[in-house]
């Protein structure tokens, strides 16, 4: 398991005490961390309330979060007070061009319309034409799944997908997340596979290429993007759905029971030449 992600979950109880999402002690954040905090904020929306999201003390990290448009997400969540804390931070949007700000695509058409933008983003990050197309299909399939499996069935008032990415040019590594506050793997697959009992089992079932849509010939999307991420990019797929956390890379599959979220946080990490 990625040591950063493992450490993040090991200390989760410390930064989500009752009624709060407190990440004041953070000094650095990956897209995964932002996705996880976003889903936790959505999950605890009713109890957290505005003002109970404690932002990082680290000024550089606050600037980074502003550059990531985290304040826009907070406002959307109704946390105007927390969002206003970013108002005094002045940044240039041209700083740190190696990222994709948090995008909230409410509808599939919204998401599909962004694909041309993501293609340009991958090329700007340093991917060649073929790799950019392959990476675009990976994010496309993750995004399609969000809408295919949650349409008409969102468990909260927050629908759609949250997308963010960061390029690390020295490492030639791209991390991209697709998060949604939907029914999760178990909620989606249990219709077709009623014997499924745990989130981890459901994620693994989905990664094998199974679908929860009864009576339809489909599936294989997740299996394909898993094969491409690992086989073509020597990368890593990480999925947190419900209380299950599963990571797959060329060394195999690892799993862990973690604190539950509403919906799914999926990440692919790819390496490029």
């Amino acid at each position: 398991m990625d040591p950063h992600i493992e450490s993040l979950y090991d200390h989760l109880d410390e930064w989500i005490p009752a009624g709060m999402v407190d990440f004041s002690h953070f000094d650095f954040m990956h897209p995964w961390d932002i996705g996880l905090i976003s889903l936790l904020a959505i999950k605890h929306q009713a109890t957290v309330g505005d003002g109970n999201i404690v932002l990082p003390r680290n000024a550089n990290l606050r600037s980074y979060l502003k550059r990531m448009h985290f304040h826009t997400f907070l406002r959307e969540l109704g946390c105007a007070h927390s969002a206003a804390l970013f108002d005094s931070i002045l940044i240039s949007e041209h700083e740190n061009m190696g990222l994709q700000e948090i995008l909230h695509c409410r509808y599939l058409d919204d998401f599909s319309a962004r694909l041309a933008h993501f293609e340009r983003m991958f090329k700007n990050f340093g991917l060649g034409e073929e790799d950019a197309h392959r990476a675009l299909i990976i994010v496309g399939e993750f995004g399609n799944n969000v809408f295919d499996h949650n349409l008409g069935n969102w468990p909260t008032n927050f629908s759609g997908s949250l997308i963010a990415a960061q390029n690390y040019p020295r490492l030639k590594r791209i991390e991209m997340i697709v998060a949604d506050a939907g029914v999760g793997f178990l909620g989606s697959l249990q219709n077709a596979f009623p014997d499924l009992q745990t989130d981890i089992a459901a994620i693994k079932k989905g990664l094998e290429g199974n679908t929860g849509r009864i009576g339809e010939k489909r599936g294989n999307g997740l299996k394909t993007i898993q094969q491409w991420t690992i086989g073509n990019f020597h990368g890593v797929i990480t999925i947190h759905s419900g209380s299950g956390l599963v990571q797959v890379d060329e060394h195999g599959i690892e799993e862990k029971e973690v604190a539950p979220i509403v919906g799914t946080l999926a990440q692919f990490v790819i390496y490029y030449e």
Binding site: S112, A116, E119, I137, N144, K217, G221
Partner: protein
């Protein structure tokens, strides 16, 4: 079977083809495009020239939809030269055994 072909230029549907719902809409559009033609055994050629990206979801739903709509037609594909990712997607869809089609040059 004769050699008459109906050719569909996929670029007219978009440069990036994504999602099952868009594929279902595209199948209905194809039905309109070839409306009036008899459902004979003539070939249906999908020309992917100038299409950059097709997601497996779109490809699966689109090709399977056409197969169900025109079971007598043979579905062939061309215009994938120089686009190895597109080739891979079409192979994946074929290997998924949700369609039964040939690839032509």
């Amino acid at each position: 079977m004769n050699n008459v072909m109906t050719t569909l230029e996929l670029k007219k549907f978009g440069r990036i083809l994504n999602s099952r719902s868009f594929a279902r809409e595209a199948v209905l559009r194809v039905k309109q495009i070839i409306n009036g033609e008899k459902d004979t055994a003539e070939d249906l050629v999908l020309d992917f020239a100038e299409v950059e990206v097709v997601t497996p979801s779109f490809a699966d739903e689109f090709i399977r939809g056409l197969r169900e709509l025109y079971p007598q037609k043979e579905i062939k594909m061309r215009g994938t030269e120089g686009n190895p990712v597109l080739d891979d997607v079409l192979k994946i869809v074929e290997e998924g055994k949700t369609i039964d089609s040939d690839v032509i040059d």
